[in-house]
């Protein structure tokens, strides 16, 4: 890795240093593109390989062989000649491709000929009663603490929800010497029926063996309740207990920490800012930027890769990163089209196989509608503390959509900028009107997409765009 010396303009700017970003940057740089990686974290890896360069041997043992794969990507990035800028928070990108970001508190501008948004995903909101209490966190949050800080939850731990990460985290907590009081599985039983037709392709993939052995390992030592249909976090200023309901009735269990998870969805703020068209993916029940197999979007100089382009996991992310890099090299004139297609053939086929295998997971782990469409006084917008019943009432009164809802209750207008309520609000509108979320649409997102002070913005160097904006012609 070279020192972050930024060129005047780069060929290929990659935003995000997870598997997609690292693979893309290494590939692009190896093809001679001047490549810059801007990443918000202090070390490479994204969320999946978080802390990979700093993790202790004991931590790496707990996280297993899949985590170790991040090493290869980091090494390839380091050897590639791409400029890697950790601690770089991108907060805006102009239509001309000037990227505005903060590095060590200093605002900077980097013009790029082509931009790859590789900003990954986030956990799907899981709005249940009491989910705002201290002591309630996402499963991903606990995994990040495990990866980066060697922290394992202690006390009475309850995991609740659905999806592979829940089981992976459970295994990792056990591996780190932790104990889990209970796992509450909210996977609807009928999902199995729907998922069956995707089972053969799943069984043929490496995910099957891994997944089944993970499940077996966890179930050997942790009590699991299946078919959980209601969940409630109980406490005043701190989580005290978790109440859950199955067909057998309601039960309450004491808990110090509740870890929630119901899948991962693409992060939309950067692609949206870049002008990408955002579309609804019915199979994954999430919005994502519209893109072709190269990650190319409706914006000429912008591509997307990784989970930010649609959830596919770490392997697919790295493949998509490389595909986007080859396409970038083609578009910027380094290689011709047949060369691109030849280089990419194997990865394209691998990606198709990988995504086909994952369809089973998408269908099986589609969360129950009750956990996507909250009711009553359950908080929807955590920042502005807007409960579901207020939103329901406004929808019933004829509010046009998520954007107009902001005017009435500031839903989605707090510091997280709708990241933790956007999907929920869309799903609430869709459910109330009996139409697809595709027809409801998503929040209109606004820059800056990360917190930046007015002083920081004002000290940005003036670009051509800025001059044009204030000079009368």
């Amino acid at each position: 890795m070279t020192e972050p010396y930024l060129p005047e303009i780069c060929d290929f700017a990659v935003i995000g240093a997870g598997p997609a970003g690292m693979a893309a940057a290494a590939t692009a740089a190896s093809l001679g593109l001047s490549t810059v990686v801007l990443d918000e974290q202090p070390a490479p890896g994204g969320q999946i390989y978080r802390g990979i360069t700093e993790a202790a041997a004991a931590t790496r043992t707990v996280l297993g062989a899949d985590y170790e794969r991040g090493r290869e990507l980091v090494d390839a990035l380091a050897a590639s000649g791409a400029t890697y800028c950790p601690g770089s928070t991108v907060f805006d990108v102009s239509p001309a491709g000037e990227i505005a970001f903060l590095l060590d508190g200093q605002p900077r501008l980097l013009p790029a000929r082509r931009i790859l948004a590789a900003t990954g995903g986030q956990e799907r909101p899981f709005p249940i009663e009491g989910w705002t209490l201290p002591g309630v966190m996402t499963a991903g949050a606990a995994q990040i603490l495990l990866k980066q800080a060697d922290l394992v939850p202690s006390g009475k731990i309850v995991l609740a929800g659905t999806g592979p990460l829940l089981w992976l985290l459970a295994a990792q907590i056990l591996g780190a010497g932790g104990t889990i009081a209970l796992i509450l599985d909210t996977t609807p039983k009928r999902n199995w029926l729907a998922a069956l037709r995707h089972l053969p392709r799943f069984l043929a993939s490496p995910y099957a063996v891994k997944g089944l052995s993970l499940l077996a390992r966890v179930r050997r030592s942790v009590k699991v309740i299946f078919g959980v249909s209601h969940l409630r976090a109980v406490g005043e200023e701190q989580l005290r207990a978790v109440a859950y309901r199955t067909s057998g009735g309601e039960t309450t269990i004491q808990a110090d920490t509740l870890l929630l998870h119901q899948g991962v969805v693409p992060s939309l703020h950067l692609p949206d800012t870049l002008g990408c068209r955002i579309v609804w993916n019915e199979e994954q029940r999430a919005f994502q930027p519209e893109a072709d197999c190269w990650g190319a979007t409706c914006v000429d100089h912008v591509a997307v890769a990784g989970d930010g382009a649609g959830i596919g996991g770490a392997q697919a992310a790295a493949l998509r990163g490389r595909l986007a890099a080859w396409d970038a090299a083609h578009r910027l004139g380094r290689i011709n089209r047949p060369q691109r297609d030849r280089l990419a053939a194997r990865d394209l086929a691998a990606l198709e196989r990988d995504l086909a295998a994952r369809r089973f997971l998408d269908v099986l782990y589609e969360p129950l509608s009750r956990f996507r469409v909250p009711t009553g006084d359950t908080i929807v917008c955590r920042c502005e503390e807007v409960p579901a019943d207020r939103i329901e009432a406004l929808i019933a009164q004829g509010v046009l959509g998520p954007n107009q809802l902001k005017f009435f209750v500031r839903c989605g207008m707090g510091p997280c900028q709708g990241r933790l309520c956007g999907l929920t609000v869309t799903e609430m509108f869709a459910a109330a009107r009996g139409i697809s979320p595709a027809e409801i649409g998503y929040y209109r997102l606004r820059t800056p997409i990360k917190p930046v002070t007015v002083a920081e913005m004002a000290s940005l160097p003036f670009g051509e765009q800025a001059d044009k904006a204030v000079v009368r012609l």
Binding site: Q47, L133, M137, I144, L151, S154, E385, P415, P451
Partner: protein, 98 residues
């Protein structure tokens, strides 16, 4: 509650949180260091003054907002500890001027 599962040396980073000295690893985020010290609440909310703690640990939820070295609304999960760092929990909205 969380505990360290490795005995990696703490590398001597000390920060104060609401006046209390806590030790941390150099690679800890502020939020991770607080968890390691048994602190699960980092702020009260702007609207209803309810207790909140870090929720996502990856910069998405903004529930880990704290005051770091006198500057308010810093994301505790995205800010690395530094020796001598002064962290305060944030009560309600960010104060004007900090």
């Amino acid at each position: 509650m969380f505990r360290r599962f490795t005995n990696r040396p703490e590398q001597g980073v000390t920060i104060t949180v609401d006046g209390r000295e806590i030790s941390a690893k150099a690679t800890d985020s502020v939020a991770a260091a607080m968890f390691a010290a048994g602190i699960t609440t980092c702020r009260t909310t702007v609207v209803d003054a309810r207790a909140r703690g870090p929720y996502c640990m990856m910069g998405v939820c903004f529930d880990c907002l704290v005051i770091v070295d006198g500057i308010g609304s810093r994301q505790g999960c995205m800010t690395r500890v530094r020796d001598g760092m002064v962290v305060e929990s944030q009560k309600g909205r960010r104060e004007i001027g900090r």
